[in-house]
């Protein structure tokens, strides 16, 4: 972004990569797949790079409002400094925080989840999404809590999957009643409390009941949790966990 600014240019959209997308090896693949799609659609985009910092979502959900607001205000200063208007992110947690919790701290942006953004590109005819290698494959979609229930977006990822001409099978608990993968509320960064099962295993079992070839996700944390769940059920040879963006990119071997 700094380079853009130096050249006096403004990107069409800022891609907010997020911590998982920047550092987690699995999530980096999603980042790269999404970037391939952005390039394919000739989107003029920028990233903050080393100037990006955690949105503060895990701090806020853990109860640390101080740390959250420090992170938020620092990020808002950077974003406002670059006069950012439009942001896209592949992480529903970043999406939710920037969309809902930054405005009261002075950060007002048009923010889209990557599935919403890809859908709009598709509708504008800037990106073609076609079946390719996923055509007719049996796929189930796991709703991320912070995209679905938290922000009421259930359709964008499903419409993309429909464009891929997959056979979409819903789990028993889906959309507004979708079961959490177990990572939200800063759970990703701690051990679960004592119980009789891990949440991601419960959710993976439900997903496997639909006998899918692929479990589609739209959140890097859900992706990790479901991947771990699939491994725990020793199903990794038969079932893949993929982000919707990865599927679109892979469909065309991008």
């Amino acid at each position: 972004m700094a380079e853009y600014m130096a050249q006096g240019k403004k990107p069409e959209v800022l891609f907010w990569v997020g911590c998982a997308g920047s550092f987690d090896d699995r999530a980096k693949k999603i980042t790269k797949a999404f970037v391939r799609l952005l390039n394919k659609a000739n989107i003029d985009f920028a990233v903050l790079g080393t100037e990006e910092s955690c949105t503060g979502d895990p701090a806020k959900r853990a109860g640390n409002e101080f740390l959250f607001q420090m992170q938020a205000m620092t990020n808002i200063e950077v974003l406002n400094g670059y006069e950012i208007k439009k942001i896209v992110t592949a992480c529903p947690h970043c999406f939710n925080t920037i969309k809902n919790e930054y405005p009261s701290l002075g950060g007002n942006y048009e923010i889209m989840h990557h599935t919403q953004f890809l859908k709009s590109l598709m509708e504008e005819g800037r990106l073609k999404v076609e079946g390719g290698k996923f055509k007719g494959k049996r796929i189930t979609f796991h709703d991320p809590c912070y995209l679905g229930r938290a922000n009421g977006e259930y359709e964008a990822p499903r419409e993309l999957l429909k464009k891929l001409e997959v056979e979409l099978v819903e789990m028993k608990r889906c959309k507004s009643r979708g079961l959490c993968c177990g990572a939200g509320g800063a759970q990703m960064f701690k051990e679960p409390e004592a119980g009789n099962k891990d949440i991601n295993v419960e959710r993976t079992e439900e997903a496997l009941e639909t006998a899918p070839k692929i479990i589609a996700a739209a959140c890097p944390f859900c992706n990790t949790m479901m991947t771990d769940g699939v491994k725990a059920k020793h199903a990794e040879d038969d079932v893949q966990v993929l982000d919707v963006a990865e599927m679109i990119a892979n469909a065309e071997d991008l």
């Binding site: 997308g21 409002e65 607001q69």
Partner: protein, 443 residues
């Protein structure tokens, strides 16, 4: 002598309504122990929620079977109250079926017929509710927090409603028999599509006996209603009144939007403002203690959260959708609401006894809600989505986490580690911020 029943009725009515009013005022006083919240925004959305969610029962029917049964009981409850109005006028003035002399015959007959059908549906609904609890033993009614009083309470309410409806139909059946005998005072009024099948049981009884049955059922029915009204305060059943204001005050922003703590905003702004003098003396007259962060007791919660606690009818839909609870963790959103209410009631009792709240060495945190429960939450909003009356257990969990972290620095160790990472290197993991763009050049 002639007026004794009217006088007794009026006294019973006044006592019933009077005692209920006293208890309602206690509830209002207790709710006001919470801090004020501004809910003057989104008025149109709020009213639309009341119409859809409260009046329209839109969230109840997400589960079709209990949803439909509940609509029977709910519509029955609302409509049959018109009959109660007639009973009250009759009781005070010694009339009999007074609305018959006021309303057109067709309308009156239609009303009585619909009361009867609704009463029957309520009876069916309540019996099936009872079987769901006690025969089918649905899991959500047998959770840990439902042992003892909450379980009995739920059943008492169902028994109450069964008896009230049975009395209502018996009263009508006896009335119908008296009407066909041509008894004085019992004008031929009303259609009785249900109790006409009960009336044959009374064949051969004398007019005197029938009058005793009719009057007995009439009195027990109205006294039962007054007792039930007063039982509400001691039970989990206040939702029949509080659901409406509670839905009005429910969350109208996206569920993912957690509230901003303004007291923190001020401090963070000061920290980030280079012009602030860190050694400045507090402003003149600034004597109030710094705000407490988060909640450790019910007084730290908002009035809406406390209203939530009184509104909860312990149906357990929240708990049955909670990922932590489903996988055997201690957290149950329903218990969070029950604990909040129990603690609030305990404080209310304390105030009743002492005139004001005398510290009792207890609080909501630890004495009612354990840390283990609070840390098990994934903030997924399933409980908020599931609640048919817009209760938000998650907001209480979040407020209590804020207290634990910001007042007590008592987060689980792993969380402290990741929060330190966020503070130091801008990510929950210990990676260098300078490596954020490395993915660009990796394959």
């Amino acid at each position: 002598m002639h007026y004794i029943p009217n006088i007794l009725f009026t006294i019973a009515l006044a006592a019933g309504i009077g005692y209920f009013t006293i208890n309602i005022r206690k509830i209002i006083r207790n709710i006001k122990l919470g801090h004020e919240v501004d809910a003057s925004d989104n008025t149109a959305q709020r009213w639309s929620n009341v119409v859809r969610i409260a009046l329209g029962q839109s969230k109840m029917v997400v589960r079709p079977i209990p949803g439909l049964l509940h609509i029977f009981v709910y519509v029955g409850f609302v409509i049959i109250n018109i009959e109660v109005l007639e009973i009250i006028i009759d009781g005070i003035f010694g009339t009999h079926r007074v609305l018959f002399s006021i309303l057109p015959t067709g309308l009156y007959n239609f009303l009585i017929a619909s009361f009867e059908i609704l009463a029957f549906l309520v009876l069916v609904g309540v019996i099936l509710f009872w079987t769901r609890r006690n025969v089918q033993k649905l899991k959500r009614f047998w959770a840990n927090e439902m042992k003892g009083w909450p379980k009995n309470d739920g059943n008492y309410i169902l028994y109450f409603e069964m008896v009230l409806m049975a009395l209502f139909l018996t009263m009508n059946a006896a009335d119908l028999s008296l009407q066909s005998l041509g008894a004085a005072h019992y004008v031929e009024a009303g259609w009785f599509p249900i109790s006409q099948f009960i009336a044959p049981l009374f064949n051969g009884l004398s007019e005197g006996t029938l009058i005793i049955i009719e009057r007995g059922a009439w009195w027990l029915h109205i006294l039962g209603i007054l007792v039930f009204l007063n039982y509400l305060y001691f039970s989990k059943h206040l939702h029949i009144i509080l659901a409406f204001p509670n839905v009005y005050f429910g969350k109208v922003v996206p569920k993912g939007k957690f509230k901003n703590l303004d007291s923190v905003t001020n401090e963070v702004k000061m920290m980030m403002d280079p012009n602030v003098d860190p050694f400045a003396a507090p402003a003149e007259g600034a004597t109030e203690a710094p705000a407490k962060f988060g909640a450790s007791d019910v007084m730290d919660l908002s009035r809406i959260q406390l209203l939530n606690a009184y509104t909860c009818t312990e149906c357990g839909r929240c708990t049955s959708e909670c990922p932590a609870n489903i996988t055997g963790k201690k957290l149950s959103p329903r218990k969070i609401m029950m604990d909040t209410r129990d603690r609030l009631e305990e404080i209310g009792e304390n105030i009743n006894k002492n005139g004001e709240f005398k510290p009792d060495g207890k609080q909501l945190l630890d004495d009612y809600i354990t840390r283990e429960e609070l840390w098990a939450c994934t903030t997924c909003n399933a409980c908020v989505e599931a609640c048919p009356v817009s209760i938000d257990p998650l907001s209480i969990i979040m407020d209590m986490r804020q207290y634990l972290v910001m007042e007590q620095s008592a987060a689980p160790t792993e969380l402290n580690v990741s929060m330190t990472n966020i503070e130091n290197n801008g990510a929950p993991w210990p990676y260098n911020q300078m490596d954020r763009l490395n993915w660009k050049d990796e394959n």
